[in-house]
Amino acid sequence: MAEIVFAAGIPHAPAVVGLFEKAPDEARAVVAATFGAVARAMAAARPDVLLVFGNDHLTNSRISAYPDFIIGLADRHAGPHEWFKEWIGCRDWALPGDPEVARALFKGLTKRGFRLNAEAGPLKFDDNLSVPTVMTELDSTGIRVVPVLQNCTVPPFPDERRCYALGQAVAACIAEDMPAGLRVGLLGSGGLSHEPGGARYFKIDEAFDQHFLKLASQPDHAAFLREITIPRMEQAGLGGTAEVLSWFIVMGAIGERCGESFGYTGWPSFRCGIGGVVWDLTKEAA
């Protein structure tokens, strides 16, 4: 029986990399505190493998044949994809993959009723994995990574309850299908409120973001699932805010836990609300 030893949720807004130096002090402080805390918690937990759930920004597939989930089976993942490099303004990076864990996840989720695609070749990575990697220096840790790209922007897409249920199935896979002693980390990459490409591109819904962070940090998932719905996400920013569905997968996997967040900024030029949560796994789930 493998064990979940780390869980966090963070945004991957590219501007936290590319516009970091131009941001006001208070916004920079939130970004540094959030990604710094995630990096420290991850290092302390010593995961062997990190499952990263994050949306694909229409980077790997045409809209006419868009998968809901893609598991990366490769033994190495690298990015950012060429066109996203100047958009993010980040360096190149490479991470070791874990084909064995990726295949176990693919097989285990399939048998538990979830249809996913699996890609043996190189996936194209955009903000989803690039921003967390460079902001936490994940590529210096040696932690193996299994990326799971999800659709949260091409309708219809799996809703909050389906993503939460997927997370519960991920936990079952880890507990029942993966080798004893394997230490697994979970990272949800996406959100908070934003409307990429929309009329409200520079608008951030701070009320939604603050409420979301508060609920995500509390061990009451009934309230979380009742209040953080797809319509409310879309109201807070069409086509972007639903990236927080990656957090639902992580929360479904770990159960009701307390979490800690590290401040919030809605600096408009980030074009996205910024805040994160690291969940405390040292106490049993409620």
Binding site: S64, E86, W87
Partner: protein, 104 residues
């Protein structure tokens, strides 16, 4: 905004994907946009006109996915984090809202 008008069959979606995946096509788009648009025979006249006139309101009303609309704006006005992408975002919002260029 809503998904009410979204039309996944729009040829402009394939245009954006091809530009994203093919640097040579991107270069050609800059030099001879008409020749690139000619490659999409299913692109409707009003869709093509909206692209040529940088009329994102019209393009979205025809069914453009906003995320791909945002990416199209970056092919046109700039993609670099520090300047071009910000400019592209402002011009996109101005086109969608009819308001003067927005200052973030």
């Amino acid at each position: 905004m809503s998904w009410e008008t979204y039309d996944p069959s729009l040829a402009a979606h394939d245009l954006v994907q091809d530009l994203k995946w093919d640097p040579a096509l991107r270069a050609q788009f800059k030099q001879n946009e008409a020749a690139v648009l000619d490659r999409y025979p299913t692109m409707r006249a009003e869709e093509r006109r909206a692209i040529e006139q940088r009329d994102f309101r019209a393009l979205y009303d025809l069914g453009m996915h906003p995320y791909l609309g945002g990416q199209l704006s970056r092919f046109i006005w700039g993609n670099d984090a520090g300047h071009g992408a910000v400019e592209a975002s402002k011009r996109l919002v101005a086109s969608l809202t009819g308001a003067p260029l927005e200052q973030p």
